[in-house]
Structure formats: structure tokens, C-alpha cells
Amino acid sequence: MRKAILFLFLAVPAFTGCASLTIRAVDYSWSFESVFTADSSGYVRAEPKTIAFDARELFRAETNDPAGAAGAVVRMIRDSDGYYFITSAGFKHVYIFTWSRAELSLKKRVLIAEQGMTKPYFNRRPLGIELVANGQTYLLNRKGIIPGDKK
């Protein structure tokens, strides 16, 4: 009985502490985009502290050709909310992902150019993520192109 009281005495404050701790105003953004080159199996593995994923699903979604991922250059950036923006040269879209345990889940697929993008790149900007492609500049957030910010 005494043991049970002691357990409760120690455990209750601990559980109480875990449930209530929240860090706010977190900025997940990357200062600049990462540019990855997928390996022969289409797997993207960047430097430590970033991310690694299989790009074949992405290419399947964009071109219906998962094999196209092999050796492809993939550009990726993260905004302050933690959403991932991913695209590649030749893509028509920018893919916006949210993350969950060991997964990237598509939040939004934003059409940029029907003819495909040449030399696309991302920059982090105060109001969102800047995309430059085909000589055009776009400002994106998790919902897609911020209206009025296409230049």
C-alpha cells in the first residue's frame, strides 16, 4: 500500500508535466533551399540534419514515371510553419507537404507552368517561399500561390 502511494506521488507530477509542455512560435523555415540529387534508385539523401526520402513517388505523381527520379535534381525548402515545398526542373507543379511520423503528406499541389519549369529555385522570404521559374517569381505559402504576388 505504501509502495502504491509512493508511486502515485512520483508519477502524477511527471505525467502532468509531459502533457502541458508546448513550445510556441517555432520557425521551421530553412534559410535557403536544399538541392538534392537523387541516387540511381531515386532516393534523395541530403546532408545530415536535413531529410532523406524516396523521390520516386513524387515523380510518379508528376510524370507518372517513377524511374525518372534516378539522378534527378530535386529542390526543397521549408517554410516557417514547417511545410515542405518540393519541385524539380521540368515539373509543372510545386508540391507542398506536411510531415507526420516517417511520412511526407501532400498538403497541396500547385500548378506553376503547364509547359514545365526550367531552372526553378526556391528562396525563403519574410512572407513566404519565393519560387523563381521560367523567368517568373512566385510567392507561395501552404495554400499555394499568394494572390497578387506573381511577378
Binding site: S31, F32, E33, S34, R75, Y121, F122, N123, V132
Partner: protein
């Protein structure tokens, strides 16, 4: 080659920067291009063997810093934990290290070059020392030999000088005695010839000594020290005084001697040789003197002695010629030059023309003029002393004397003939008259 590599590296860097226009590009590219340029510069600096133009790398670093300054914040993220500033500092530190290294390498290279040069110089000096040592050894041997020769010559010259002094004294004593016996004349002649031979020998020795010193001195490869050494030897041997003594001996000889035409030839040759040799060694002799006044005095003395010798020889010639006349009992006015000789002979001939004598003519012609004067003496007398015209005048006067003597002879021949004819006629008349007186009368 290293310079070319340095220049190429900078050229490549300029191309890299030219390609890195930063107007509108990916932040990622900005960071990557900065990294690339910074790394390139860093590598170029680490590998640089030559810094090319002074300040060129420093300029490139400053330019990189200025170009990327607007992206300082981005670079702070991209280069984390580094920054633009730390990257530039890294480059500048590397530049400093490279500069020091290149300078050290340059110094080392220069040192190596210096070492090689010094080694070469040392080797060259070594070779020269060996050569000079060998030359010195040769020179020392030659000098020793020459010193012995000069000493030997010196002894012989001194011996001849002493002997000549004795001979001259004896000759002068005999001349004063004026003995005309055959024995005394023969003795005088013998002594004179001996003195003459001695003087010739001594002249030869002096010239030989001059040659040995002068030839050695004239060698082009003699060092200053070696030349000084030679000068010292010459000074020890009282070189100039020997030349003066020799010339003085010759002057004394020609002042006392009765010369033959052969003697005159020899004397004149010797004089010429001495004069030429003296002119040749004057520069060398000049160096024997430590001070100008002594040098000038002694050289002037020798020059004057040579002139005196020439005058003395000329006087001896005329004196010997006079002796030819007086030895044959021909009284002629004294002469001591070509002009005086010409005048004296003409005066004598003119006297003879007034009272021509066959005997005197024959004596003059055969014993004096034709030989030895005309065939032996006149050839040794230069025409600038006795001109052709003067010689011709004398010849014409002698010829005239000869004609007069011939005419005189013919006159006596005619007179003799007349006397003979007249005597013959007288004898014939006398004989005829005596025959007429002795003829008998016939009666019936």
C-alpha cells in the same frame, strides 16, 4: 612556369566571378558560389608558388567580400557556423601565410642561386689560385734564373769596365809618349783593338741585360706585385747607372781611339742599337724612380750621353781621317766636320796646283785618297755630312792636279828629246869636221 600557374589561377578566379552575377538567383546558388569562390581562392593561395602581381590576391579577396556583403545574413546561415567575415578572415590569413611562404621560398631560391654562384666563384677562385700558384712558381723560377743571369752579366760588365779603364790609361800613356817605332805602334794598335773588342762585348752584355729585364717586364700576365719585384731587382742592380757608365766608356773610347772605317761601322751600329733599346726601355726605366725630379734628371742624363756619344764618334772619325793625312806627311788644316774636311782638302789641292809635284801627287793619290779615304772612309761618312757635290769638287781638283803633273812630265820629255837631238846633231858635226882634217893630200 610558377608565375604562369599563378596568373592562370587568378584568370580562372576572374572567370568564376564573372559567372557569378548575383542580380537574381537562388540563395542556395549565392551560398554555393561564395563557397566555391572562397574555396577556390583558398586552394589557389595554398598552392600558389608565386603571388603574381603584388596585391592581386588581396584585391580579389576584397572584391569577394564586397560582392557578397549584401548577402551577409544569408551567408551567416549558409556557412554556419562560419560567416562572410570569418571566411574573408580565413582567406586573408591564408594570403598572409602564402605571402610568407612564397617570400621564404623566393629567399630560399635566391639563397640557392647565391649558394650555386658562390660555389662557382669559389671553384673558379680555386682554379685561379692553382693557375696563379703555377704561374708564380714559373715566375719565381724564371726570376731566379734571370737574377742569376743579371748578376753574372753584372760581374762580367764590371770586369770589362775595369779592364777597359786600364786599357784606356795605357793607350793614353802610349799616345803621350808619341813613340813612332814599329813596336810601339803595334802595341798601341793591339791595345786599341782589345779595348774596342771589350767595349763591344760590354755593349752586348748591357743590351742583353736590358733585354732580360725588359722582356720579362713586358709580359702581359705579370701582376703588379711581380712588376714591382722586377723593378726592385733593377734598382738593386743600379740599372741606369750602368747604362750611363757604358755610354761614358764608349765616349772615352771614341775620344782616345784611332778608328778604322770598320771600327766606325761597328760603333755606329752599336750606337743605333743602344739608342733604340734605350727608347724602348724608357717607360720601364721611368718606373724605377720613386720621384719625378730624379727620374727626369737621370733620363735626361742618358739622352745627353747618347748625343755626346754620337758627337764623339763623329769627332773620332774626322780625327782618324786627319791621322791618315798626317801619317803620310801631308800637311792639311785640321778639320772636325764634313765642311771643314772639304775646305781643308781643297786648300791643300789648290796649293799643289800652284806648284804641281808628281811625287806629292802620287803619294796623295795612291797612299791617301784612292785608298783608304775614297774606298774605305768616304763610304762610312754620310752624304749629309759630306755631300756628293763636295766629294765631286775634291775629285775634280785632284784630276786637275793630275793633269798638271802630266803636262809637266810631257814638258820635261820634250826638253829631254830636244837636248838629245841637239846633242846628236852637235856630235855629228864634230865627227864630220875631224874627218875632214885627217884626209891625206895626193901629189903626182
Amino acid at each position: 612556369m610558377k608565375k604562369i600557374a599563378g596568373v592562370l589561377a587568378l584568370f580562372a578566379l576572374l572567370l568564376l566571378q564573372a559567372g557569378g552575377a548575383l542580380a537574381q538567383t537562388s540563395d542556395y546558388e549565392i551560398i554555393e558560389s561564395f563557397k566555391a569562390k572562397q574555396q577556390f581562392l583558398l586552394g589557389a593561395l595554398k598552392n600558389a608558388q608565386d603571388l603574381g602581381q603584388p596585391g592581386q590576391f588581396a584585391g580579389e579577396i576584397s572584391r569577394l567580400e564586397a560582392d557578397y556583403a549584401p548577402h551577409r545574413k544569408l551567408l551567416a546561415d549558409g556557412l554556419y557556423p562560419g560567416t562572410l567575415e570569418t571566411s574573408i578572415v580565413e582567406l586573408r590569413e591564408q594570403l598572409k601565410k602564402t605571402t610568407e611562404r612564397v617570400l621564404l621560398a623566393e629567399e630560399s631560391r635566391k639563397d640557392k642561386v647565391t649558394i650555386v654562384e658562390v660555389t662557382k666563384r669559389v671553384e673558379e677562385s680555386g682554379r685561379k689560385i692553382v693557375e696563379i700558384t703555377a704561374q708564380n712558381e714559373q715566375y719565381r723560377a724564371a726570376l731566379e734564373k734571370m737574377t742569376v743571369e743579371v748578376q753574372d752579366l753584372n760581374t762580367r760588365i764590371q770586369k770589362l769596365t775595369d779592364e777597359n779603364t786600364g786599357l784606356l790609361g795605357t793607350i793614353r800613356a802610349l799616345q803621350l809618349e808619341n813613340k813612332q817605332d814599329k813596336e810601339s805602334i803595334a802595341r798601341l794598335k793591339e791595345l786599341t783593338e782589345k779595348l774596342n773588342a771589350n767595349i763591344r762585348d760590354r755593349d752586348e752584355l748591357i743590351v742583353k741585360m736590358m733585354d732580360s729585364l725588359f722582356d720579362e717586364y713586358s709580359k702581359a700576365n705579370l701582376s703588379e706585385a711581380q712588376k714591382k719585384n722586377l723593378l726592385a731587382i733593377s734598382q738593386q742592380n743600379d740599372y741606369v747607372s750602368k747604362i750611363v757608365t757604358t755610354i761614358d766608356g764608349n765616349i772615352a773610347y771614341v775620344g782616345a781611339a784611332q778608328l778604322t772605317p770598320q771600327d766606325v761601322r761597328v760603333l755606329r751600329d752599336q750606337q743605333k742599337r743602344l739608342a733604340v733599346k734605350w727608347e724602348g726601355i724608357k717607360p720601364f726605366v721611368s718606373k724605377l724612380y720613386p720621384d719625378e725630379p730624379t727620374r727626369s734628371r737621370d733620363i735626361t742624363t742618358v739622352d745627353g750621353r747618347l748625343t755626346d756619344l754620337k758627337k764623339g764618334t763623329d769627332a773620332a772619325i774626322w780625327r782618324s781621317l786627319q791621322q791618315v793625312f798626317s801619317a803620310n806627311g801631308i800637311a792639311i788644316f785640321p778639320f772636325s766636320s764634313g765642311g771643314e774636311f772639304h775646305g781643308s782638302v781643297l786648300v791643300y789641292l789648290d796649293e799643289q796646283l800652284k806648284d804641281p809635284s808628281r811625287a806629292r801627287y802620287q803619294l796623295f793619290r795612291n797612299k791617301v785618297w784612292d785608298s783608304p779615304i775614297k774606298d774605305q772612309w768616304l763610304p762610312v761618312i754620310p752624304t749629309d755630312e759630306l755631300s756628293e757635290r763636295q766629294r765631286l769638287e775634291i775629285e775634280e781638283r785632284i784630276a786637275l792636279w793630275g793633269k798638271k803633273v802630266s803636262a809637266l812630265l810631257w814638258r820635261w820629255v820634250l826638253i829631254g828629246g830636244f837636248i838629245v837631238v841637239a846633242a846628236g846633231v852637235g856630235v855629228g858635226v864634230a865627227v864630220a869636221m875631224s874627218r875632214k882634217k885627217k884626209t891625206p893630200t895626193v901629189t903626182s
